[in-house]
Symmetry: C2
Subunit: 321 residues, 2 copies
Amino acid sequence: MAGEFDLIRDYFRDATVQRDDVALGIGDDCALLAVPAGKQLAVSMDTLVVGRHFVADVDPDSLGYKALAVNLSDLAAMGATPAWATLSVTLPDADAGWIKLFMAGFVELAKKHQLSLVGGDTTRGPLSITVQVHGFVEPAHSMRRNAARVGDLIYVSGQLGDAGLALLAQQGLYVKQGCLSSLKQRLDRPEPRVELGRVAAMHSHCAIDLSDGLGSDLGHICEESNVGALIHLDKLPMSDAVADYVAESGDWSLPLSAGDDYELCMTVPSEQQAAFEAVMQQQDVPVTWIGMIEQGEQVRAMSPNGDVDAYVARGYDHFAN
Amino acid sequence: MAGEFDLIRDYFRDATVQRDDVALGIGDDCALLAVPAGKQLAVSMDTLVVGRHFVADVDPDSLGYKALAVNLSDLAAMGATPAWATLSVTLPDADAGWIKLFMAGFVELAKKHQLSLVGGDTTRGPLSITVQVHGFVEPAHSMRRNAARVGDLIYVSGQLGDAGLALLAQQGLYVKQGCLSSLKQRLDRPEPRVELGRVAAMHSHCAIDLSDGLGSDLGHICEESNVGALIHLDKLPMSDAVADYVAESGDWSLPLSAGDDYELCMTVPSEQQAAFEAVMQQQDVPVTWIGMIEQGEQVRAMSPNGDVDAYVARGYDHFAN
């Protein structure tokens, strides 16, 4: 059985990409890193725990991918350019095959974003993954939750509710066969909107990534910015499968509350609307206007028939019963 | 029961110190941080898991202190000045009383080192703590494991074996009553040698912190630097309690292999010896010469009777059986 240090050496060292700004990588007490002059360092840390965020027999490749993806999504929501990651893996046994598959998924996404793995830890215990990502922002062009202003337009990237529908399908809901694999892909291998966020930050000062669901996450923006929001349900971008589910059930919880889509919600001052929409058209996913920031403190939703109701947060809260 | 976000707000936000280089702290997708011009960023991440690093009914205050201390010790071993930390806490229940005590221990040590808590995560699951610390080094004055050279003098800070003896005492070994509380303090609340490391880095280019034990950790220096080391057992600095144990048992494993002391082992070129020893005398713990870096690839130990034996690594390895 391999020792801790062997595991680190074999699978973590040189696992991702070489970067000139890494003066010292894995293998010492610390990594030594160089932040470019004039840039701020953006950092985010997330932990995924077995039985809470994934099942014990999870595909390790997908877990490695997703553990990094959810963190990169936080960098995307700040408009940051990814640079480095640290990774702590706690697992019941020193299972080299498992680690190898896990790292394959992690490295696939890391390479796509020129991200270098610079440090971390491996420990024996109940399966759990903690990732911290590090990126750079221009101080004048970061997107913060507290920067929404009354009159801002609200946009979301991609389509909402696919990951939630994939979860329902796993729990037995009938979904057309042709849709299953693309929905599962959206749940297991979400695409962090890194490049989109970086470009958006030139015109938006406020964004959040949709991990808990639009209603809950937009609610965080409202709370931090002391504003309200009105969204139009008939504008919410949805795949055919999710749109069918909503049409048949009358239940809007998938696009509003299901979370796990890791799309971006951004607010844009009206004077930036034209420039923002122009650059967003160059992105490889659609960016859709869904409503307005208004006075107040609630997220309100207007249904297709014109009724307006306050959205009651039902996002995923790890400690709520 | 408090929700995840309430927990974070109540106990993590503004929990430590305010720093001008934190442009955006806890509460957004990322923290935004400013590294001083000309400095490199030093980062280290460690995970502590219940049943592995501590018992389930651990005193949360001590755990909060130690989770940060072991990470600060890594910064000390690079010669870095601490700046920021991120903290991920996974716990079985949203126990506000537990979190409050945990944070009291964490904050006590953070304030001592002007460290600001800037982000993290809270999740439900088996008790586990991951901390990442961030500090600054002068690029020309960091201490690396691969920088030991043949002829360097080897020094250690403080005294070795106290934490190991405290563990033995917990397991039933008789220790004089007067010693117990100070030994337990050394195990539960190790003092990371931050200021000592920062000063040492002006004269030493190579250091490691003693988490696994002197033999094993000095072995890492030898491996990374492609050198050997000869240490003199009769020079190892020990408290009276540890010295008594060694004298009575003839067993040197406490100062050599017990680990958990979080003292620093540093190697110093002979031309820096006088300057190094002069500044070390200003520190509030003793720094003791224990041996020399030599050609070879092993750590060898000379016993008081003059016998020399290769040290066989018996340090703590999380995945070794």
